[in-house]
């Protein structure tokens, strides 16, 4: 097919300002179109590339949509049993304290089956980074209700909306673990607009830099969409996320340098 509007005088190698990082393996990602996982993967790999720690990083992949994260990230990775990524990361970091260790988990993995491991690893003050992708649903298994599902939100196991009387309240695990003494840095970000993506990248950079100082866990929650699970188009789901997820999960830093942040950043619509 003929490509229209090509500017051959600009399209030269020396003019490249942005390109997919080569720390991501050159194969198509297995995620649905519009899924936030791809962006977080890329920002994480770009951060590692900027810090030049590709050979010093060990990642732990979870069970969930991102179970195949080790197929896409060109670094050393291990796959953990469901929810047990913080336990595995604890062992790795204690055996190789000079390595950079991160876990990459979804809400079904971190906030449901792995709650105990997460809370204990955070309370012990292990020195690794947790990246937590929260889409309020079990995306991989078909959109069932998760602990993070909003009140009134429809999922395949709560087709009339989550009723807090019978199904319980959503779990704000990020606020919960922010109160633990072993946690050094807690933040909540999103990846649906360029501004939010840049902020997320800065948060990842900060979290990885802090591993050198041995101060405790850095916890980054990324509120993401799940357009397949929510039964929307990607653009619609991003809008729905802004309108419904952000009032309940407000973005911004929750704990910085071991101190809880008093004033929370309000959601700015773009």
């Amino acid at each position: 097919m003929e490509e229209p509007f090509v500017k051959t005088e600009i399209r030269k190698d020396e003019n490249i300002v942005y390109k997919r990082t080569n720390l991501l393996v050159d194969r198509p990602l297995s995620y649905c179109p519009g899924c936030g996982h791809g962006v977080v993967h890329r920002m994480l790999m770009e951060t590692l590339q900027e810090m030049d720690i590709q050979d010093k990083t060990i990642g732990v992949s979870p069970v969930g949509c991102s179970v195949l994260a080790y197929d896409f990230m060109n670094i050393d990775m291990l796959g953990a049993a469901h929810g047990r990524a913080p336990a595995l990361a604890t062992a790795i970091k204690r055996l190789w304290p000079h390595k950079f260790v991160f876990t990459y988990q979804g809400d079904g993995d971190l906030a449901a089956i792995g709650t105990a491991e997460t809370i204990h690893a955070c309370n012990r003050g292990e020195n690794f980074t947790i990246i937590f992708i929260n889409n309020g649903i079990y995306g991989m298994t078909g959109g069932q209700m998760a602990p993070t599902t909003l009140p009134g939100m429809r999922s395949s196991t709560s087709p009339y909306g989550r009723d807090v009387q019978t199904m319980g309240h959503p779990l704000k695990i990020t606020e919960l673990i922010a109160n633990l003494p072993g946690v050094y840095y807690v933040t909540r970000q999103a990846v649906h607009t360029p501004n939010h993506v840049r902020k997320t990248k800065k948060a990842i950079r900060k979290a990885l830099e802090q591993q050198k100082e041995n101060k405790g866990i850095a916890f980054i929650e990324v509120v993401s969409n799940c357009n397949s699970g929510w039964k929307m188009t990607p653009v619609q789901s991003n809008k729905w996320m802004e309108e419904n997820m952000f009032p309940f999960y407000p973005l911004g830093d929750i704990k910085v340098d071991g101190k809880l942040v008093e004033k929370k950043e309000t959601v700015v619509k773009e």
Binding site: F5, V6, K7, I10, V17, C35, H37, G38, V235, N238
Partner: protein, 74 residues
């Protein structure tokens, strides 16, 4: 006077047609094609010459299919 202009190159076979880049583009340079790629997705393509090379589309693209160029033109 030299002007700064941008250009994008879309990896057509990797594009999944999620349209997130269209919402992110400030100069409405991107639209979906009428054709489909090998996997049956409509892919992103340039529809005008207003690209400034701001990289917004490339940063939000979940699959990282967009390469951005920026340079001076006389």
């Amino acid at each position: 006077m030299a002007k700064i202009k941008g250009d994008i190159l879309v990896n057509v076979e990797r594009c999944k047609g999620c349209e997130v880049c269209i919402a992110a583009c400030p100069s409405s340079t991107i639209a979906m094609s009428k054709e489909v790629n090998g996997k049956g997705y409509h892919f992103a393509m340039k529809v005008n010459n207003d690209c400034t090379g701001c990289m917004n589309c490339a940063i939000v693209c979940p699959d990282g299919v967009i390469t951005v160029f920026r340079g001076k033109v006389e």
